[in-house]
Amino acid sequence: MRNNIRIYLVGAKTALASRMAYRADFFMSMLIMLLVEMAAPLITIMIYQNGATFPGWTMYEALLIQGVFLLGKGIAAPFFFGIVWNTIERVQNGTFDLLMIKPKSVLFMAIVTGFDAEDLGKLIGGTTLFTLALSRLPMPGLGEWLQFLLLFLLTLAVLFGYGLILAGLGIVWIGNFRVYQIFESITNFGLYPAAIFSKPLQTVITLVIPVAILGSVPATVLLGRPSAGTIGAVGVGLLFLLFSLGFWRWMLKKYTSVGG
């Protein structure tokens, strides 16, 4: 484990050094990432400033949900979601083989070599929004914080699961970068309180496709008003993680059985 952490840190350091070779582009990319991610919260603020609301939610409560969602993505994107681009690109240009000649799991090597430094902009954006929204709300108690941390860990695990599915699809659908857009479209439902959607849609994003767990479910626990179906969402999230791990292994097996 300690050795794997050391490998990950060396991988992150080399990725950062690589990216620093073009510093202007790096900082521009980080800034653009931050601005793009801030689009939804800015729209939310405009909605509330014009007198409209998400029924039953104050502006800062809505922003906290978005803060949790962006914080989750902000951690996932630089630290492990790079497996998606890394796998798609490597399978397309043939360098995926190089991950398989290292004495570590292919998944771990895809994570190590997929560290995405410029996505740290998303992390800065997510942290800022989360902190800002929380500072304008009553401070949660210790119990709420503990529940939130557990659920947020599941948020990260579910995001990891999405990464595994998208990367796995990249193994069989060569060069298909569109899968990321599909992911973005589906998960954007997580930016808003699940309760504002119709009941059937709430069920789908909570208990079928784990989207509410990406923002609404952990944030509402922190707000002291847990979403309906929180326990179900936890179960679905765990099942989703197991499914995605199996899916990745299945796709990897498909790769290793194709021709040279």
Binding site: T14, D97, M100, I101, P103, S257, V258, G259, G260
Partner: protein, 323 residues
């Protein structure tokens, strides 16, 4: 045997795609599967310390064999034992003991110096500091790369990059190194340096398996050649035997004082008639003896100059590839 391969087969599925508009549209909905038999039951063994060249035309099955031996691909059937491991089953433990250089796939990182990539490998293979430093310094000196490893990879020449690929592949001191076209695109000096390095490492006991299209690599390095064609081994022996495979032929260049005689005789093939006084030809010694040929030409035209050379290995390979 260090490497033992028995009846290895690999069949993979691909899809037929037409080139016309109608066929392209049709292939969006229905694709006809095509089963490619990349390997048809090949068997061979390689002892520790050998330096074996793998030859074959494009699509012969060389890369598939190499990918199975490096644990990247599963075979369809057959058995492989390398140092007691089955590559695709014991992949993680196994690959810690092998190295690989792919001439067309770089392990270096484009924008940062090779030394940073070496440090990444140091972490991945858990190489102790002292061993890493000693091995790297030794290889840097052998490959003449002293200042090069600290420059960004993108600023290096192709030859320098390839030398760094060798260090990358061998820092963890592997027992076997697989080389897939390691000298592709390199100039003569870089090729020579890399060949010297391979021979030096081979002397120290490292086993090398080399696939290449550059026959001079094979001539300079390999003592044994395995030729694969259509998924089957069509030749497995020494370079000298490979030359003989083409036949007992000599390449002769002759120039004379008087016009050359008629050379349309059994066993003699004129390959280039430069002038009435000068020609290049192939002489099949099994049909026409060399001394008889010299006597014939000297008597008829008085030899001014004559050179006798071994046939190019390419000719022998062409014969095997056509099989």
């Amino acid at each position: 045997m260090l490497i033992s391969v028995e009846n290895l087969t690999k069949v993979y599925k691909t899809y037929q795609r037409g080139s016309s508009f109608k066929e392209t549209v049709k292939s969006l909905l229905v694709r006809k599967p095509l089963y490619v038999h990349a390997l048809k039951g090949i068997s061979f063994g390689i002892a520790a310390g050998e330096l074996v060249g793998f030859l074959g035309p494009n699509g012969a099955g060389k890369s598939t064999t190499l990918k199975i031996l490096t644990g990247i691909l599963y075979p369809s059937s057959g058995a492989v034992d390398v140092m007691g491991y089955t590559p695709w089953r014991d992949r993680k433990k196994y690959v810690a003991k092998i190295g690989a250089v792919f001439g067309q796939k770089s392990q270096l990182l484009w924008d940062i110096p090779p030394i940073d990539a070496f440090y990444l490998n140091k972490a991945i293979y858990a190489i102790p500091d002292r061993v890493f430093k000693r091995t790297m310094e030794n290889m840097v000196e052998l490959l003449d790369l002293k200042d090069v490893i600290r420059k960004p990879t993108r600023q290096l020449s192709l030859g320098e990059r390839m030398k760094c690929e060798f260090i990358m592949a061998m820092l963890h001191q592997p027992e076997i190194v697989f080389l897939d076209e390691p000298t592709i695109g390199l100039d003569v000096i870089a090729k020579d340096k890399i060949r010297e390095f391979i021979l030096e490492m081979n002397k120290k006991g490292v086993t090398f398996i080399l696939t290449t299209h550059d026959l001079s690599d094979i001539e300079h390095l390999a003592r044994r050649v395995i030729v694969v064609n259509h998924g089957e081994i069509v030749f497995d022996d020494s370079i000298a035997t490979l030359r003989r495979h083409w036949g007992e032929k000599k390449i002769i260049a002759v120039s004379t004082v008087h016009p050359l005689p008629d050379l349309t005789l059994p066993g003699i093939t004129v390959t280039k008639r430069i002038s009435d006084y000068q020609a290049e030809l192939e002489l099949d010694l099994a049909v026409y003896e060399l001394n008889k040929f010299i006597a014939l030409v000297n008597k008829a035209s008085t030899i001014r100059d004559l050179s006798v050379q071994e046939p190019q290995i390419e000719e022998a390979i062409k014969v095997l590839y056509k099989k």
